[in-house]
């Protein structure tokens, strides 16, 4: 239990998926202009990550891994389909995003209109695919993968919320013209990343 908790804290703060591994930068830069939309997208990402990571784990464990098909018949022990990981994962993510979109539309029209176009765009958010790939590379168990997925999503949401809040204030400052937009955003992200680095070395 404590181990899970420490993995969660680690992936939110110490190894933040955005600030330490640079995943999900595109939507981070594009959607961090207003706090409300940033929060909406943040929640959508947490939601999709929480579903796709365990599903991808199951797909990898019981369908694609070397020898994974042996539960079907002992003849398949030598079959290794792990090269199909990428295609399977991206298909699962695209399908899950589609299902999530339909579910949200049925359950809460308000949230659906608030998220708007960001929901389908999550498919190409590299943080989602990245979490699935990291979980395979680090050989997490099903429980660990779920915790890792949820907490990475939360970490990403924290980062985009912080950035959106800063950028709202930034409108009132006088920035050199060539630095406006992408330039200043990158410098700010660097500063936030430095602040998050102070969490490193914490052992729980």
């Amino acid at each position: 239990m404590l181990e899970m908790f420490s993995l969660g804290i680690k992936s939110v703060f110490v190894e933040n998926i955005l600030l330490a591994y640079f995943l999900g930068m595109c939507s981070f830069l594009a959607v961090s202009k207003k706090v409300t939309t940033a929060i909406g997208l943040g929640f959508a990402v947490v939601f999709v990550m929480a579903i796709t990571t365990p599903v991808n784990w199951l797909v990898h464990e019981y369908l694609l891994k070397a020898g994974a098909l042996s539960w079907l018949s002992p003849k398949f022990v030598e079959v290794d389909l792990s090269f199909l990981n990428y295609i399977a994962f991206i298909a699962v993510i695209a399908a899950m995003v589609q299902i999530a979109e339909m579910a949200i539309e049925k359950i809460s029209m308000k949230l659906y209109t608030a998220l708007g176009i960001f929901l389908p765009l999550i498919t190409v958010n590299c943080a989602i695919l990245g979490v699935s790939l990291f979980m395979i590379e680090r050989k997490y168990t099903l429980g660990q993968s779920t915790v890792f997925g949820v907490s990475s999503g939360i970490g990403w949401m924290l980062a985009i919320m912080a950035m959106a809040a800063i950028r709202e204030k930034l409108k009132y400052s006088n920035i050199p013209k060539p630095l406006r937009g992408l330039g200043i955003t990158m410098l700010l992200t660097g500063l936030i990343a430095m602040a998050f680095m102070t969490f490193s070395g914490i052992n729980i």
């Binding site: 600030l19 330490a20 591994y21 640079f22 995943l23 999900g24 930068m25 595109c26 830069l29 594009a30 090269f83 199909l84 990981n85 990428y86 295609i87 991206i90 298909a91 695209a94 389908p120 498919t123 190409v124 958010n125 590299c126 989602i128 695919l129 990245g130 790939l133 990291f134 590379e137 950028r167 930034l170 409108k171 050199p176 013209k177 060539p178 630095l179 406006r180 937009g181 992408l182 330039g183 200043i184 955003t185 990158m186 410098l187 992200t189 660097g190 500063l191 990343a193 430095m194 680095m197």
Partner: protein, 204 residues
């Protein structure tokens, strides 16, 4: 647009990283050293060129509604091919790039070029567009990679370039450049420098 312009435009004036703001994740993540940056640049260029070509050839057969999924599948197939080739011939670099080869699937440059160019243009311009954008991306990658390797760890392609006498005189490698914040600062400064020269400003 003429073919020549299609090819040269993405080098500076319409650079995928600094102007179109696509593919930032991998630009930052793989550039701690020059060698992985070079390999990554070539891999992405190959993938953009071939997926641009394929999509442009079948562009009239793709139903509008499912085009994203078709595009994702073609990109994922190309990425699997490149990944297998890297594993066979450049295993150490492939290990170093780890999940970032797989993440080319969600690299916004590839999807962005497919959506923005290959879907509405003939095969030859699409190849040139892919090649131009790939090279534009690689240029930024190589610049960032070389800078971070020289000043961050004092080597270039693994050979030490900073003379020992400098270290004896008190020079030290800048450890910040190897870490995440260094990458953000560096890209921010490159964007600043480029926009100051080309005078393309972004209004917030």
């Amino acid at each position: 647009m003429s073919n020549k312009k299609t090819f040269f435009e993405p080098f500076v004036h319409n650079n995928p990283v600094t102007v179109q703001i696509l593919g930032i994740c991998s630009t930052l993540a793989v550039t701690t050293q020059l060698k992985p940056s070079l390999v990554m640049g070539i891999a992405v260029t190959v993938i953009i060129v071939f997926s641009n070509l394929i999509i442009s050839l079948i562009r009239n057969m793709i139903p509008k509604k499912i085009r994203i999924i078709v595009e994702m599948i073609i990109i994922a197939t190309m990425v699997i091919l490149v990944d297998q080739i890297l594993r066979a011939y450049l295993f150490d670099v492939s290990k170093q790039l780890s999940v970032f080869v797989g993440l080319i699937i969600t690299n916004c440059i590839v999807l962005g070029r497919l959506e923005g160019f290959a879907l509405i243009n003939k095969a030859v311009p699409s190849i040139l567009d892919g090649l131009g954008n790939g090279i534009g991306y690689s240029l930024i990658l190589v610049a960032v990679g070389a800078f971070r390797e020289i000043f961050g760890s004092g080597t270039l392609l693994g050979f030490s370039v900073i003379p020992q006498s400098l270290y004896n005189a008190g020079y030290e490698n800048n450890g910040l450049l190897v870490l995440a914040p260094g990458a953000f600062f560096l890209l921010g400064l490159i964007v600043w420098f480029q926009r100051a020269i080309t005078k393309q400003y972004e209004e917030e």
